[in-house]
Symmetry: C2
């Protein structure tokens, strides 16, 4: 339930000594309820009704804070701006190269890859990222017309 997620997120912030401001509350709430994977600008635009004076810098600052606390993951794809994703459980993303839609895709973590990489390169592995690209059913069906 979203309300719980928000509560837990706010608690996590408190424990780290991060102040809860109305802006932070709203950004978190938006991230949790958003089924898309918004850019900083998406968030800024979505909240300008509620916070007409909010600065873009505030959005960026807080996204960085959330990322450092581990609440949010920053996704850097090829396009111009980063996207931000509230972290729930381990999942990957399937991305439509035509319309940009991002769909969550659950898959057991690729532990084996990390182990092998560690063995071959001598790195101490911390994590990995993976995305899958293609065209979504909608775009795909349009193409065939």
């Amino acid at each position: 339930m979203s309300t719980n997620q928000l509560k837990e997120a706010l608690d996590a912030l408190k424990e780290t000594g991060v102040r809860i401001t109305p802006q932070r509350h709203a950004i978190l709430e938006y991230l949790i309820n958003s089924m898309s994977h918004p850019t900083a600008d998406d968030i800024y635009k979505a909240l300008e009704g509620k916070f007409p004076n909010m600065s873009v810098a505030t959005v960026y600052n807080n996204l960085r804070v959330f990322r450092e606390v581990g609440l949010v993951k920053e996704l850097t794809y090829g396009d111009a701006s980063s996207r931000f994703d509230f972290i729930t459980t381990q999942h990957y993303h399937v991305i439509c190269e035509n319309c940009g839609k991002i769909v969550d895709f659950h898959y057991p973590g690729l532990d084996e890859v990390e182990h092998l990489a560690s063995h071959v390169t001598g790195f101490k592995i911390s994590h990995h990222r993976m995305e899958i690209y293609g065209s979504c059913p909608e775009c795909h069906s349009k193409e065939t017309h």
Copy 2:
């Protein structure tokens, strides 16, 4: 052998009707010989001795051309600028979060993941990307001192 790779790359360009200019030749050569994964600016700086009048736009334009022809892959990590990698064989990258070093890591393609993603989401999958993050042996040994 690098000389062969360059020759093949130039042939691939000719077949696509892309003109071979000295700048393109030099950028390709640099990409092939470079064991790092340079940014556009790295390339620009590396070649300014040979081409004092070359524009940054030329580097970007040609990297895009190479990418469209399939000779080069653009890597977008979290940091400010894209990195470019001459495509040889299927491999992934292991990236040091401390010093930024990138090491190639060969691994059989994750076909299974693509199949499952296609099945679950209905996407027509074209490709995927994966990177592995950690700290390299050098950085790691420094940390423990």
